[in-house]
């Protein structure tokens, strides 16, 4: 195999005496989907926060295409090509849908204060180009989002908020997109549409990989190439879903010791 897209080695963080995540190893190959599952409080979102630089790991390393990015500030990691969404979607509510996507391009654009003040034509050209690209991205994701592009993001229903978050993530031309429970609050129809969206985006962007935290087992069964199970801050299993679900320690993590014995 070539250089992995993302490689975590012995990644861990402790908050005082509490070990939230302990020595997690994980490899993500290009053009793949990896799902992370595990009970509530297992440390899945903490793992995302470590990869994206919101938290600084206390042990271990993160490497993106072989380059170490451990402990870099969040904005630098985003600029390197890791985009993410949040468990409770965090859009720029009072800005227009289009502006939300344009802000996703911040890491790829260059205008600073002096350029904006002294060379307005250059600054405007850059932003107009961003706007045109953002419209293309929106149209690719959903015609309805495109039609409503000048309305504030705050008015969108849940399913469209996720879509807009994915569009914003795509705007940065990322190599890896982290989705934190994308299907939460969605019905079956919306979840099916979400899976179709992810597959289409992968087809349109060769090399792009997804790392997804998910609770909806229907999605976990259908979508990923690889499933990783985390419990009590440790990786307890990895493999394809059919294998992973049969493992006693996985069933135990989800259902409890007693339930497994009685089964």
């Amino acid at each position: 195999m070539t250089t992995p897209l993302l490689k975590l080695s012995g990644l861990g963080i402790r908050f005082g005496g509490l070990v939230a995540l302990d020595a997690v190893d994980l490899t993500v190959a290009p053009s793949t989907i990896t799902c992370i599952i595990g009970p509530n409080g297992a440390g899945k979102s903490t793992l995302f926060n470590l990869i994206t630089g919101i938290y600084r790991p206390t042990s271990g390393t993160v490497a993106l295409q072989g380059d170490p990015i451990t402990g870099l500030p969040a904005h630098r990691i985003a600029a390197r090509g890791i985009a993410r969404t949040f468990q409770s979607s965090r859009l720029f509510e009072d800005l227009s849908i289009l502006d939300n996507v344009i802000i996703g391009m911040h890491g790829r654009t260059r205008t600073d204060v002096l350029t904006a003040l002294l060379r307005p034509a250059k600054s405007r050209r850059e932003l107009e180009a961003c706007a045109a690209e953002a419209e293309t991205i929106l149209r690719g994701i959903s015609d309805e989002l495109f039609a409503r592009r000048y309305q504030p993001a705050g008015i969108l229903p849940q399913a469209d908020r996720r879509r807009l978050e994915i569009a914003r993530a795509l705007a940065s031309h990322p190599k890896l997109i982290l989705l934190d429970e994308p299907s939460s609050g969605m019905d079956d129809r919306d979840t099916a549409a979400l899976m179709a969206d992810i597959r289409r985006v992968m087809a349109d962007n060769p090399g792009l990989s997804f790392l997804i935290i998910e609770h909806d087992m229907r999605l976990v069964a259908e979508l990923p190439d690889n499933v990783v199970v985390i419990d009590y801050g440790k990786k307890i299993a990895e493999g394809d879903f059919a294998t992973v679900r049969q493992l006693p320690r996985v069933q135990q993590a989800y259902l409890g010791q007693k339930a497994v014995e009685h089964a």
Partner: protein, 392 residues
């Protein structure tokens, strides 16, 4: 349905140029009437007219849309007419120096409010130290002019640079805090600066600095009246044009920054700091940058104020000044240039026009401000969405 109707309405029955001309001339006349109004009933009546206009806009949002569309369609005319009105305005004040003075102060406060708007409006940084950076600008230029004999034009950039350095100095430690704690740090900074101006000997202590020489341009001293085409404008008119030019510069800067990647980054930070970080925005740097831009513009206003009054003391730059500037931004409308300027004019002129209430006048100013906020909860002119590709 209603939008198509208003579009047809604005495009066919009433040409954009007519709407623009009527709005600008009407606004100028209303401002002039307010400036020259001597009797309290007239002031109250004019405030009622303003209230009625804003109520109409609140309950019939199409009115605002039609006007904004017209200004977009006839941009060239709107700018040319606005410049013309600003240029000929002093001729209509009939040599009333008090009205001219009020205008100058309003213009300077508009610049200060626009400066603060980069922080409070764009990036949601509650900076209570705009009064202090304004003071740093004023003192720097006054000291340079008095002790080193620098001309006004040389002190302008010097004061801006010194104040910007102070802005960064305040911004960097402030980044360790946020929200209310950040507000406390800026309040402390403002008080420290005020106390230093009050206690240091080389700033003149509580007596301040006296005898700041008047600027001159191409041999024309700003102390002398302007004589043109047989008209004679009082000497204040010099500073009126100077302040108006500065406000023009501030508007241009605000517009350019707002319509750039920088303005978008500030807005992203205002909406959600964590999400902004994850889009690759260096949140700390952009916040410090907002402190710098605020200080830079505030120092310009401070310099013009110092040379206009020719006497400055620490009491011109108190915490209360910062609070007033903040109120202007909130009442006018965060992140809307026109709104912020309107807020600055209203809050500068109201206390002067309500002098008849003597000791109670600040109470009445507050009542008027609260009434306007009830009428327009998001400010007189709230922020608007950006549009791209020549669309409105």
């Amino acid at each position: 349905m209603s939008t198509t109707l208003t579009n047809i309405h604005s495009r066919t029955t009433l040409p954009a140029s007519l709407i623009v001309a009527a709005t600008e001339i009407g606004g100028a006349i209303l401002l002039g009437a307010f400036l020259l109004a001597e009797s309290t009933p007239l002031v109250v009546a004019l405030l009622a007219v303003m209230g009625a206009l804003f109520a109409a806009m609140q309950y019939r949002p199409q009115i605002e849309e039609v006007i904004v569309a017209a200004f977009h369609d006839a941009r060239g005319l709107a700018t040319a007419l606005a410049v013309a009105i600003v240029l000929i305005y002093p001729f209509f004040l009939g040599g009333n120096t008090y009205a001219l003075h009020l205008l100058i102060v309003s213009l300077l406060y508009s610049v200060l409010a626009l400066a603060l708007n980069f922080q409070l409006g764009s990036a949601n940084i509650p900076n209570f130290a705009t009064g202090a950076t304004y003071g740093i600008g004023a003192y720097t230029s006054a000291l340079l002019a008095i002790h080193l004999g620098w001309s006004f034009w040389a002190t302008l950039p010097a004061a801006a640079i010194v104040a910007t350095v102070f802005g960064f100095l305040l911004g960097i430690p402030s980044m360790r805090t946020r929200d209310s704690y950040l507000a406390l740090v800026t309040i402390a900074f403002g008080i420290v600066i005020h106390q230093m101006l009050n206690n240091l000997s080389w700033t003149g202590g509580p007596n301040g600095l006296v005898g700041i020489p008047a600027p001159s341009l191409l041999g024309h001293s700003f102390m002398r009246p302007i004589e043109l085409f047989g008209f004679r404008l009082p000497s204040q008119a010099n500073f009126y044009y100077l302040s108006a030019a500065l406000l023009g510069l501030a508007i241009l800067s605000a517009k350019r920054l707002h319509e750039s990647r920088v303005g978008l980054a500030w807005n992203a930070i205002r909406a959600d700091e964590l999400a902004a970080k994850c889009q690759g925005i260096n949140v700390v740097w952009y916040k410090i940058l907002a402190f710098g831009v605020d200080a830079f513009l505030a120092a310009f206003a401070g310099t013009i104020y110092a040379f206009y009054i020719s006497y400055i003391s620490p009491d011109n730059f108190t915490f209360l000044v910062s609070v007033t500037i903040m109120t202007m931004v909130i009442v006018g409308g965060m992140d809307n240039t026109l709104g912020v300027i309107l807020g600055a004019f209203l809050l500068t002129m109201l206390p002067e026009k309500l002098r008849v209430f003597s000791d109670y006048r600040l109470l009445f100013v507050s009542v008027v401000v609260i009434l306007f906020l009830i009428l327009r909860p998001k400010g007189l002119f709230p922020q608007r969405q950006r549009h791209y590709g020549g669309q409105r």
